[in-house]
């Protein structure tokens, strides 16, 4: 083993050791072990620590990954038993020793009766003992070291085995693909009716599911639906026309408040019809998009992001402050917002509302697709690829950017109005920066400019955390990490846009054209 290989293994071990320590510090080890225990079918009471075996499973998986990663340092070399054993042992040992040092410090401090929670909020005495497998400190840290090394070695050999069998797996996969292509998939792909059948099935599900799956699922899926709406709107702005807007919540707030103020008996006693108020809310949001957009259309990229963030915050602060108290009820928020009515009948049950949201989502998908595939969509694409070139080829960039902003804002207004109507309440805290960030993350993770991507993003990022209540606290942390990781390994998103990309090759030389900047005021 050469020196470089040892260094790489040690680095991998260090990364994994730090990850385990970080997870322990933020209390994630306990939560994920609880989840594993539940997944194994064992019950777990509230406030009860999960079993040690589930924690061992979690640690083991991390250790295996560690060994796998440390063993496969270079794609082009062939592994052998000696290499794998050396590398994975080093990686496992390094990770184990790091974790051991952490466990030792925390364990000793806890044993001395120091309340660590005053400084690190997740380190209760129980969680420290849990981290030591409910054993004494010495036994606990030794288990950590041995287990980490053992699992890393297992991971290393798994990597070896996967490499040995790679050829076989590849040929098997190819033969399966070939068989399915020949026998059914190829035929189906050529058949125009398949997509109609699929659509029919989806429509049937959309009609039947809200009736059958109960109020809780209607609530969760309704939230997801509203986020699909918001995502589709932001997708028009960020994905189609390439303008990074961070204050999307401003339009959401304008839609929600317009709807709330026109339908609630307090503070203005304008009890408008649901549908009229809905239309007015959408229009108000679209208009605000134009109004906010007009002065800032010249800005690009980072500046636009931060200015729109400023707009979002301004609106939230104004809503919360006392000066608009008589107009918007200030921090208390608006109550008794109307639900949908049709021909004098009220549609406020969860099932009805779910149908309303589904209708709105379908309409939005339809509209967004039409726009994307029209000449407007091509103009947006041109702008998002290179604004200067788009302008030079005769695209009225200002007009199309404004159009994108106001259409996106209209979707947000619709989402906001539905949100306010469903909750029968809206207040300033419904419109925090977090909404903008949630929507931005789902658009980016799903795939900028891709409509199915947005839907997928909304389901995974808004639906999953609603179901996995335990991880709710970690949602934003994961979102942040996800944004960074996605940008590094898959900037086009989970379900990338289908449109062919005619990009100029991006290389080291493709930095933005800029004037020589000065640091220190020197010309």
């Amino acid at each position: 083993m050469n020196k470089q290989s040892i260094q790489k293994s040690a680095a991998s071990g260090m990364v994994f050791g730090i990850i385990v320590i970080f997870f322990a510090l933020i209390g994630f080890t306990v939560v994920i072990s609880g989840l594993i225990q539940k997944a194994l079918g064992q019950s777990l009471g509230v406030g009860q620590m999960p079993s040690t075996s589930s924690f061992l499973i979690f640690l083991g998986l991390l250790g295996i990954w560690n060994g796998w990663r440390a063993s496969r340092q270079d794609k082009h070399e062939t592994l052998n038993t000696k290499k794998v054993l050396g590398r994975s042992t080093i990686a496992g040992l390094v990770a184990g020793v790091l974790v051991m040092v952490y466990a030792l410090i925390v364990g000793v401090l806890d044993n001395r009766g120091i309340n660590l929670r005053t400084y690190l909020s997740q380190l209760s005495s129980e969680s420290v003992r849990f981290f030591l497998f409910n054993q004494t400190i010495v036994v606990g840290i030794l288990i950590h070291v041995f287990y980490s090394t053992l699992m890393a070695v297992v991971g290393g050999f798994l990597a070896l085995a996967s490499e040995r069998s790679r050829e076989r797996v590849k040929s098997t996969r190819e033969s399966i693909q070939k068989w399915s292509q020949d026998h059914w998939l190829g035929k189906l792909q050529g058949n125009p009716y398949v997509s109609y059948v699929l659509m029919g099935v989806v429509l049937l599900l959309l009609v039947l599911l809200p009736r059958t799956w109960g109020a809780y699922w209607n609530y969760v899926m309704g939230t997801v639906g509203i986020y699909v709406l918001l995502g589709l709107g932001l997708n028009i702005i960020v994905g189609f026309s390439g303008q990074l807007v961070l204050g999307y919540v401003a339009f959401f707030a304008i839609g929600a408040y317009t709807f709330a103020l026109t339908t609630s008996p307090e503070p203005h006693n304008l009890v408008w019809n649901f549908w009229i108020a809905l239309g007015v809310a959408v229009l108000a949001a679209a208009l605000s998009g134009i109004l906010i957009g007009l002065p800032i259309m010249r800005l690009r990229g980072d500046y636009l992001a931060i200015v729109t963030l400023g707009f979002g915050e301004i609106i939230r602060i104004l809503l919360r402050s006392d000066i608009l108290k008589d107009f918007t009820m200030g921090p208390r928020g608006v109550r008794n917002i109307a639900g949908p009515t049709l021909f004098g009948r009220s549609f406020t049950t969860d099932v009805d509302f779910m149908y309303l949201i589904i209708l709105a989502v379908l309409l939005s998908i339809f509209l967004a697709r039409r726009w994307q595939e029209s000449s407007i969509g091509r103009a947006w694409l041109a702008i998002s690829q290179d604004e200067t070139v788009a302008q030079a080829t005769g695209v009225n960039t200002q007009k199309y950017k404004l159009l994108a902003l106001s259409l996106g804002a209209a979707f947000a207004g619709l989402g906001g109005a539905l949100f306010a109507s469903r909750n029968q309440f809206t207040g300033p805290e419904d419109h925090a920066l977090m909404v903008s960030i949630n929507v931005l993350v789902l658009v980016i993770v799903g795939g900028m400019g891709s409509i199915p991507g947005v839907i997928l993003g909304a389901f995974t990022l808004k639906g999953l955390p609603e179901i996995l209540r335990e991880v709710e606290n970690y949602r934003l942390l994961v979102f942040g990490a996800l944004l960074v990781v996605m940008m590094i390994i898959r900037p086009e998103g989970l379900w990338p846009a289908r449109r062919p990309k005619l990009e100029v090759p991006v290389g080291q030389d493709n930095e933005p054209v800029h004037l020589p900047a000065t640091v220190g005021g020197e010309k």
């Binding site: 909020s121 970690y474 942040g480 960074v484 991006v506 020589p516």
Partner: protein, 368 residues
């Protein structure tokens, strides 16, 4: 038909847009002046209030300036907004806090034999170490931030590193919340830097307290700014930084290790933000994981205000923003709740009317 459309075309020539913008700016200025005079005529506040407001503005402004320098340094070199810079400051605040907490827990016997905490027995050492810790840990987080979140994206389209920076910001903020809890914490200052005490000035019949923490922060930020200016202007590292900011490729040809200079830039800006964070804690006392968000955005505003990429501009912008934010609501006669709105409005107005900032050179549209 075509001729008719041309005649009544709504597209205005470039020049008239500029004139409209100037007229709009002047109108706005006139409105602000009229409003200010209106408020001043009522003379709601005495000289003491004005002094108190401007001093507190100056103190906060010094911290904004330190953070703004970080934005400007990074923007000057990488042309990206380091969105997570406010979080780097938050990390610095926590670093200083833990040092003070630790020293407060250690008991030593003082000169007269009494049991004292280390913090009060040796306040100078404690403060020095707190700043050292805050600056080091913030500098380190800046370094790792660059290494993990920005370096892999060198050369990608501009939106990509920006999104990564936003992600890093969210990540750090929530990691701070999960690690240290959402509750507000109180900085334990040494007795000599107690937040309540200071020099008492008699102004217009009432006492204005210039707190020691405030004066201390102001002086320290001035020292740090001068130090940074000298570093950039007089040292080899500073020259290399300026060279990289001007042209990365040529700088590399001249034998400068561009990656290393970029890392060091992040270290320097992180250290300044960390210092600002510790000052924030010492001066304001209460803080939590969210402490970096608003100062971060406001410092960015300050950097834009002064002309992004320009270090004296960032200093000036920071001071200016601090004072405007503190005095502005009184001048305009609006609620002090709205001081954040004022800062954001300034950001928007600057970007609309003078994107190059006060001291910045004219920018092409490409750069804005």
């Amino acid at each position: 038909m075509e001729a008719l459309r041309k005649k009544f075309s709504l597209t205005l020539p470039q020049n008239s847009i500029r004139i409209i913008r100037i007229i709009a700016a002047l109108l706005l200025l006139a409105l602000i002046i009229v409003r200010a005079m209106d408020v001043a005529a009522k003379s709601q506040f005495g000289a003491d209030t004005w002094l108190r407001l401007s001093v507190s503005g100056l103190i906060i402004g010094g911290m904004y300036a330190l953070i703004a320098i970080g934005y400007t340094l990074v923007y000057g070199i990488l042309f990206m907004i380091n969105f997570a810079h406010g979080e780097v400051m938050m990390i610095g605040t926590f670093g200083g806090y833990f040092v003070f907490e630790a020293f407060n827990a250690i008991q030593v016997s003082g000169a007269d034999g009494n049991q004292l905490s280390f913090l009060n027995a040796y306040p100078v050492i404690a403060i020095l170490l707190a700043f050292l810790a805050g600056m080091t840990i913030a500098a380190l987080s800046g370094l790792f931030l660059e290494k993990f979140a920005y370096r892999p994206l060198r050369g990608a389209p501009r939106l990509v590193p920006l999104i990564s920076a936003i992600g890093a910001s969210i990540f750090l903020q929530n990691a701070g919340q999960l690690l240290f809890g959402p509750q507000r914490r109180q900085y334990i200052n040494p007795v000599v830097l107690d937040r309540g005490i200071g020099w008492n000035l008699e102004v217009a019949g009432s006492t204005v307290v210039l707190t020691y923490t405030g004066i201390f922060s102001l002086i320290l930020s001035a020292i740090l700014m001068v130090g940074l200016y000298l570093l950039v202007q007089r040292t080899k590292l500073g020259r290399a930084m300026r060279a990289v900011a001007q042209d990365k490729k040529t700088a590399a040809l001249m034998g400068i290790n561009v990656d290393q200079i970029i890392s060091r830039t992040f270290v320097i800006s992180g250290a300044l933000a960390g210092a600002a964070g510790v000052m924030w804690g010492i001066h304001n006392g209460l803080f939590n994981y969210y402490v970096g968000f608003l100062p971060g955005i406001k410092a960015f505003t300050a950097a834009v205000l002064g002309g992004i990429g320009n270090i004296p501009g960032a200093m000036l912008g920071g001071m200016f923003l601090g004072i405007v934010e503190s005095v502005g609501p009184a001048v305009l006669g609006i609620d002090f709740q709205l001081k954040d709105v004022l800062a954001f409005t300034i950001l928007i107005l600057v970007l609309i009317f003078r994107p190059s900032g006060i001291l910045g050179e004219a920018l092409t549209e490409e750069k804005v």
